[in-house]
Amino acid sequence: MSNELIGYLTTFVLAAFVGFEVISKVPTVLHTPLMSGSNAIHGIILVGAIAIEMRAHGPLQLSVGFVAVLLATINVVGGFVVTDRMLEMFKPRPKASESGDTAP
């Protein structure tokens, strides 16, 4: 195994533990926004899409990369915007949150 691969595996295992740990206390009311927020985070695939497009050879690879960048951008932008809309009702307030009145 190369050092590089061991480095990636280490990163992977640590990130998996952090991922489990960091959301373990989420209340039920936040399940859907959290899902939507993490949905936006896997839009990081856009970084990979940009990378493959940058080093693409020939029209086929260029087109595949183009579509990948396009779809990944929709994932990132749409994901964060729609999560923000969901969370508009969770504006920080002294009282505990509940839906109903969107404007404080």
Partner: protein
Amino acid sequence: QQGVDLAYLVAAIGFILGLKQLSSPRSARKGNSTAAVGMAIALVASLFVLHPSTTKVVLILIAVAIGTVVGAVSARKVAMTAIPQMVAAFNGVGGAAAALVSIDEYMHVTIGAPGTVSILAVVFSVVVGSVSFAGSIIAFLKLQELMSGTPITYPGQRVVNGILVLGILALVVYLVAIGASVLALGVLLVISLVLGLAFVLPIGGADMPVVISMLNAFTGVAVAASGFAIGNTGLIVGGTLVGASGTLLTKMMSDSMGRSLGNVLFAAVGKPVAGVGESHDGS
């Protein structure tokens, strides 16, 4: 390159803090912004490569511009009640992007002599990304009521799904053994898409949030596998965080419905009658 890796580290911190803040009602909205800032840093850094070609940069900017408009407008315009299917759609395109990145990487590495690990990572990402994409489409169609929200079952469903899974496993073994076959990868892609459709069809509309959460975790895993395939730490961290937290979240969501995940996913398979709507049958 070091600068880019540092940017991925900053992005990773943004994602972790963002997820943490998203877990509490007081800070949830801030958490979304924190994660978005981390994403922006990683994206800007990824644009700095040695010897960029102007044509490719322009192509990328065009794709990003179109994607931004489509994503922002659809997320803004969608009715509050239609948000779950919107999330499914955004998840689906992410899964498709992960599969495409790996397919492109495969076309790239098969020119040389690809290693077993990179082939495995590519194949894994293509399979999981395609299942997530196709499954998300069905979830979207069901929630949008473009197709019936009731579980769709047919005789021998289990056998069909089992054959699909076996076919995928066989192709994976074949691809790892021979290394380079674009045709085999193509067949694998098609079977994975069919499995994604077949897997979500028998699940009722009321259970869709749990399914979308699971597909969200799938896309995370596919993204992480793409990260292994192209050697990118940013993808590995981002994808794994979503894969792990999404798996736990899926379990918590089915728990809060008083059901096991297995019951949510497979309740309708094998027996044609299954409760749609408020089913608190416990298992």
